[in-house]
């Protein structure tokens, strides 16, 4: 019988190290996880709140909205309304995870298994992250962004910078390339380009010109690349453009070069977070499944005391709790609960399939290779496709899922399908589409810009099944676009599909 890793509730660096080695052994050798080098940092509650309010990043430029978030979270936390996350992971290389100093040793063990192994494996191996984000350079890029924006504030004043950031933040959801892969210049090239832009601006600066009534600002270098004019056929090859921030950065007639750079920074951030928004269920599910598995293996090896495993179970149960829709605590499907249930279910199907499972999942039911199936799922799916592919009838029954059809002008909701033989497929695909963020969010595109005449910018919201934009927010955000474009903006809502 091996001695348990720890018996005291307080953590220390030695026990953390012992635990990490034990967890790592299971994660690498049994589960065959593949991770970036770990960097584990112990932080205080205030630092956790800091990280919370700065989009979960260890460094971030300054903006009032982060201060607002901090004040709100701090208030809620001090009043005891919310607990803090026990951990936070940053998708970077090396992968940084934060552990809260207040955690007990059992919690630290869970958190290490959850964050340092589960989430990190997911970040490193999922195709979305591999394709769209650049773990190697994100921290350096943020450092650059922070410096750059601080420099702008010094040079052009807080108000000016704040105005641009406000407008850019309002368009963050429309600041990503959804369907085309963003160009991925290396960090060195990004910095080099930035440096050259600055140098160019400085060389162009002439004290004499500054005193002239006009032409104080050197023309934006992008002026030459205004190639959004229509060709002979009346068709513009570059439009429509889905990435509003990109479009404004490149073609806005009024922005100065530093303002364009700020748009670029915000756009890069939005792009960086885009995969995370598409994989909430999978990401948290994978991490929860990994920590659950590892904790049980540790316990079976005699490395955890009974007290520790009970503490773990209590906390785990709270994390994967799913209130029902008529419960006052209900606020949507809990990604931890759904993700964890689906992954545990995959393991069950591999090990002890029922007849139904063999029918629904002939490819892997009963093969016993749950590690392989899960790793494949983690690598090649996002929430939407994962649910469409792997949600089993048994889970739909367990969660008692039912689908509703809603029409805005009707007085009633129609129950279109429930968890029965006739409804499984419909419930499943409805749920899957709910997680497709390109469908859940508005689809707004730039369709034209009158550059020769009144410089009006034309936007189109292609309504999905006739759902319009929220009217008040629509006008507020349009004001922000007008500020960036510098001229009138027309946003039209047309029937899409």
């Amino acid at each position: 019988m091996t001695a348990p890793l720890f018996t005291e509730p307080e953590w220390s660096f030695e026990t953390l190290d012992r635990v990490l080695k034990a967890v790592e052994e299971i994660a690498i050798q049994d589960l065959k996880l593949d991770i970036y080098p770990n960097q584990i940092e112990i932080i205080s509650t205030e630092q956790m709140l800091d990280a919370y309010s700065a989009m979960g990043m260890p460094l971030m430029y300054h903006h009032w909205s982060f201060g607002k978030l901090f004040a709100r979270e701090e208030g809620l936390y001090r009043a005891g309304h919310i607990g803090l996350a026990y951990e936070m992971v940053i998708n970077s290389h090396p992968c940084i995870s934060y552990l809260l100093e207040e955690n007990s040793m059992t919690m630290q063990t869970i958190v290490i298994a959850h964050a340092a192994f589960g989430q990190k494996h997911f970040f490193k191996n999922n195709y979305l992250f591999q394709q769209w984000t650049n773990a190697e350079s994100i921290l350096e890029y943020l450092a650059f962004a922070k410096r750059y924006i601080a420099a702008c504030e010094e040079r052009y004043g807080h108000g000016e910078v704040e105005a641009v950031l406000d407008s850019a933040h309002a368009l963050m959801d429309q600041g990503v390339f959804r369907y085309r892969r963003p160009p991925r210049p290396s960090r060195a090239r990004v910095l080099e380009k930035q440096r050259r832009r600055l140098e160019h601006a400085e060389e162009d600066y002439r004290e004499l010109w500054r005193t002239l009534p006009q032409g104080a600002e050197p023309p934006p270098p992008d002026r030459n690349s205004w190639d959004i004019e229509e060709d002979e056929m009346g068709v513009n090859p570059k439009l429509p453009e889905e990435n509003l921030l990109y479009f404004l950065e490149k073609y806005s007639p009024t922005l100065k070069s530093w303002q364009r750079e700020i748009l670029r920074i915000v756009r890069h951030l939005a792009q960086y977070f885009y995969p995370q928004r598409q994989t909430k269920v999978m990401n948290e599910g994978a991490a929860t499944f990994v920590h659950h598995t590892i904790m049980h293996m540790l316990y079976e090896k005699g490395l955890l005391t009974e007290g520790a495993i009970f503490e773990f179970l209590a906390s785990h149960t709270a994390v994967v709790f799913q209130p029902e829709f008529d419960d006052p605590r209900y606020s949507g499907l809990n990604p931890y609960a759904l993700g964890f249930a689906m992954m545990s279910d995959i393991r069950r199907i591999c090990e002890e399939p029922s007849e139904e499972d063999r029918l629904w999942f002939p490819a892997f039911a009963g093969t016993g290779d749950w590690r392989g199936v899960l790793k494949n799922a983690w690598a090649n799916y996002r929430d939407e496709s994962f649910i469409e592919q792997f949600l089993s009838p048994k889970l739909m029954r367990d969660f008692r899922l039912f689908a509703l059809a809603d029409q805005a002008d009707a007085a009633v909701l129609n129950v279109s399908a429930i968890h029965d033989e006739a409804g499984y497929r419909r419930v499943r695909s409805t749920l899957a589409r709910q997680y497709d963020i390109s469908e859940a969010g508005p689809n707004i595109q730039v369709t034209g810009a009158n550059l020769k005449g009144n410089r009006k910018l034309f936007l189109e919201h292609r309504m999905h099944r006739g759902v319009p934009l929220h009217a008040q927010l629509r006008s507020q955000v349009t004001t922000h676009i007008e500020r960036l474009w510098g001229h009138d903006v027309a946003l039209e809502e047309i029937a899409g599909d």
Binding site: E46, A54, H62, E74, F399, V467
Partner: protein, 436 residues
């Protein structure tokens, strides 16, 4: 390879810059909330950090959102079905309740609540004293005879040797030596070595001529070195100083309070609150502010802050004694050339009959000419406040002081009856003036 890093000791307040930006952004709402929350609280508590609740107006972050209530179709899935079967129809819950799907309520954007957060002490005071300042401070200090002090004023060509500026002098000398091609020691030394070398050799024919040429050259260089001085009087520079008037921004505040029997506990409490506020304000606003506390009954004494605010005394009331005391202290310690003099007096308006006349005399002839500002706070009970609702009506001292106020612009009189009056009156007294 895994590293543990202990970040707990890292510098705190990483988000302070964000907080300041947020406070600046929500300034209007925060100010309103702070004023409201201060209105009913005791002065002693004013400097404490407190929770305030502000609306999110002005700090909204709009994003495009869909509004499925307004039109179109959608499908969604909920967990926890109990009795529904396919084809059932469910009445929509009334709007605003969140109802059908909690997710909508969370994402529709305009349901963001007011929110509550804690402001720290200095932030509260910042906001509270935002528009206030000591009246007339700058103007009169400049018109007073200011004290002088010496200030560096560049470089001159003449001065006393102790003020010589070595760097400038040597730089000039070096430039001049270069321009006039003064031979360096190294050049001369090299030449001398050459000569020594030639002299050492037994002179071969033809070498003589060269030796001679070198000697002539050496002679020329040496004489050149002589007439191009290493440091010429032309090179010498001195640090210059000029005398500059220095405006004094030090101020002294005289706090005068009646502590006699006629001042009840309530009156004294109100007066104290006013002075506490004043005290906080002054300590915060100006670096160098002296505060003198004078309390009086039929006799005046200078006391320390603690005694002034918290100890009691009994006796009659002669207000002029306090004014005498103030004048005495001023003459002794606070010369008008160096100090701006402010005074605030709190009283219930009663004084020995006939004394009011002497007070006016003292103020008119002695005090007002030297004071930048004199504020008189009369503390009434609420019944009296109703009786004396007009400015003219009032006790003897009030009427007397009204006369002074007519003659002197920098004399102000105000009445306070309840704690809630203090903040408005204070604000009015120390409001920033449009034209200084």
């Amino acid at each position: 390879m895994t590293f543990f890093i202990d970040r707990r000791l890292n510098p705190k307040g990483k988000s302070l810059a964000n907080r300041q930006r947020f406070l600046r952004r929500a300034r209007a709402q925060i100010r309103e909330a702070v004023q409201k929350s201060l209105k009913d609280s005791g002065v002693a508590d004013i400097a404490k950090g407190r929770k305030i609740r502000i609306s999110t107006q002005g700090t909204k972050e709009p994003r495009f959102r869909l509004d499925p209530k307004k039109g179109g179709k959608r499908d969604f899935v909920l967990p926890g079905n109990k009795e529904f079967i396919t084809g059932d129809q469910i009445k929509k819950p009334p709007s605003g309740q969140g109802g059908g799907s909690g997710k909508d309520a969370a994402t529709s954007g305009d349901t963001e609540d007011d929110f509550e957060f804690t402001l720290r002490e200095d932030e509260i005071l910042d906001i509270f004293f935002e528009d206030l300042e000591l009246p007339n401070l700058v103007r009169t200090t400049l018109s007073e005879v200011p004290s002088q002090h010496w200030k560096r004023a560049g470089i001159t060509t003449s001065g006393s040797p102790t003020q010589i500026n070595l760097i400038r002098t040597m730089r000039n000398s070096f430039g001049r030596r270069l321009a006039l091609k003064r031979p360096t020691l190294a050049e001369i030394k090299a030449l001398e070595e050459d000569i020594a070398l030639l002299e050492g050799k037994t002179a071969a024919a033809g070498e003589d001529a060269r030796l001679l040429a070198l000697k002539v050259e050496l002679e020329r260089l040496n004489s050149r070195r002589k007439w191009i001085a290493f440091i010429d009087p032309l090179d010498v520079r001195f640090n210059a100083f000029t005398e500059q008037p220095q405006p004094t921004s030090q101020a002294v505040m005289f706090c005068l309070m009646d502590v006699s029997g006629s001042m009840g506990e309530r009156e004294k409490d109100l007066a104290k609150r006013f002075f506490v506020l004043l005290h906080l304000f002054l300590k915060r606003r100006y670096e160098k502010v002296d505060i003198v506390f004078i309390r009086h009954t039929h006799d005046a004494q200078e006391v320390d802050e603690q005694t002034f605010f918290y100890s009691r005394q009994s006796g009659g009331t002669i207000v002029s004694t306090a004014l005498d005391k103030m004048l005495e202290i001023q003459k002794e310690r606070y010369a008008t050339a160096d100090w701006n003099i402010y005074a605030a007096q709190a009283s219930d308006g009663y004084t020995q009959s006939g004394d009011a006349k002497r007070c006016v005399e003292l103020l008119e002839t002695e005090l007002m000419p030297i004071c930048q500002y004199y504020a008189y706070i009369e503390i009434l009970d609420e019944r009296e406040m109703e009786v004396f609702s007009s400015e003219e009506a009032g006790a003897e001292l009030w009427r007397a002081y009204r006369m002074v106020a007519e003659n002197w612009k920098n004399f102000a009189t105000k009445r306070i009856a309840k704690p809630a009056d203090i903040f408005p009156v204070f604000h009015e007294l120390f409001r920033k003036q449009e034209t200084a």
